[in-house]
Symmetry: C2
Subunit: 205 residues, 2 copies
DNA sequence: TAGATTGTTAATCGATTAACAATC
DNA sequence: TAGATTGTTAATCGATTAACAATC
């Protein structure tokens, strides 16, 4: 049975569309069009329609898309009709900010636990969580069935933390450490490094 | 005089190359090859050579690239042979974490000031900075000649903050608020939204 | 109905890869 | 010299856009 393969780049735009739709809902809007979404996002209307058409037919000719319905469909496609528990590794400034971040609510994510290797931090509270010993990471993650994690440790520890997470069954890692990691086939990896984004802009200044 | 136009996507990879090179330097390496860089980064060797060739000839046949020299050349290309002062707007968890972040050192960036609109925060210290009143933002940014800023406010304030920054002469904005902003032609804009990255991965789980 | 907008096809555009002469 | 690796060209691959029939 041939599953249609969706290009990564298309999947990558769906969360952007969803964010815009949720914003429109917050503005009490009910219907939108590919043209309006495109203008808000700086993406061509044709591309938005093409992207969505990879997954189904969500609109109505002449009227456009029901915001509520389209948002729900994208949530289903992205598997965020459920809430994903996240393990945060590293209880420094970034890890703590992430653990306290209010922006996960209603977007399919929830921080569930936070780890560190510093005895001075283990047992202390960060937001509503108690920092756990990284030695318990693999077991805790496996027992909780956690599939998604964020690495917020220094670069030098990031690869070993990634290995631990993978050993515990994690399948998706968001890495804040400014270093390229290697993970086995089947484990997804994304990066956040503010300096990379800043350097992409200074080229043009 | 026709300036060769470099595709955005190529410029966007240079900071990744630079980060890898700096890592190699930290490992006391002196020479690398497009093949080795490609393996580390999950990018084809041909693409790395092609990207670099847009800007000049930095390697030697048979031996590869001097890490130190190539890193310096990329720094020149990206205009990070200087240090860019950055204004941070929003002194919440994210803004505070960014203001204290040690990862800017040696990468061409330096936080120079932080603003908030909350009277309870204005005047308090975050890292080595005193939180300034956002009403002074436009003037302070203009007088300091700041061209780069980061927005770490709630979504509802992000657009007005962006407008203020632009009014103060800022030309590059990194936005942590999970909302699409609009800025005039000539102002660069990048986004960091961890939820977007997480949602890009849950599709595959 | 007339106007608007979708979903889709075909054409265009741009990015990546393979291959290799040049040369260190 | 022999081996290695660059810089570059041409071929391939993939993504974006334009256009329009279908239809609400």
């Amino acid at each position: 049975m041939a599953e249609k393969i969706i290009p990564d780049i298309v999947v990558g735009r769906l969360p952007i569309y969803l964010r815009a739709l949720q914003r429109m809902l917050a503005e009490n809007r009910h219907v939108t069009s590919s043209q309006e979404m495109g203008e808000r996002l700086g993406i061509s209307a044709a591309q938005i329609r093409k992207d969505l058409s990879q997954f189904g037919e969500f609109g109505k000719q002449g009227t456009g898309y029901s915001i509520d319905y389209l948002a729900e469909q994208i949530r289903l496609i992205l598997h965020i009709d459920q809430v994903w528990d996240i393990a945060v590794v590293g209880a420094g400034d970034i890890g703590s900010a992430v653990a306290r971040y209010q922006g996960f609510a209603n977007r399919g994510m929830r921080v569930a636990m936070i780890f560190d290797n510093d005895p001075a931090k283990i047992g202390s509270d960060v937001g509503s969580f108690t920092v756990q010993d990284i030695n318990n990471l693999e077991t805790a993650v496996r027992e909780a069935g956690i599939k998604v994690a964020m690495i917020a440790t220094p670069s030098q520890n990031a690869q070993e933390v990634a290995d631990l997470l993978v050993a515990g069954g994690v399948k998706a890692i968001l890495n804040y450490a400014p270093i390229s990691l290697s993970v086995p086939e089947g484990v997804r990896l994304q990066y956040i490094d503010p300096v990379i984004h800043l350097q992409r802009m200074t080229y043009y200044l």
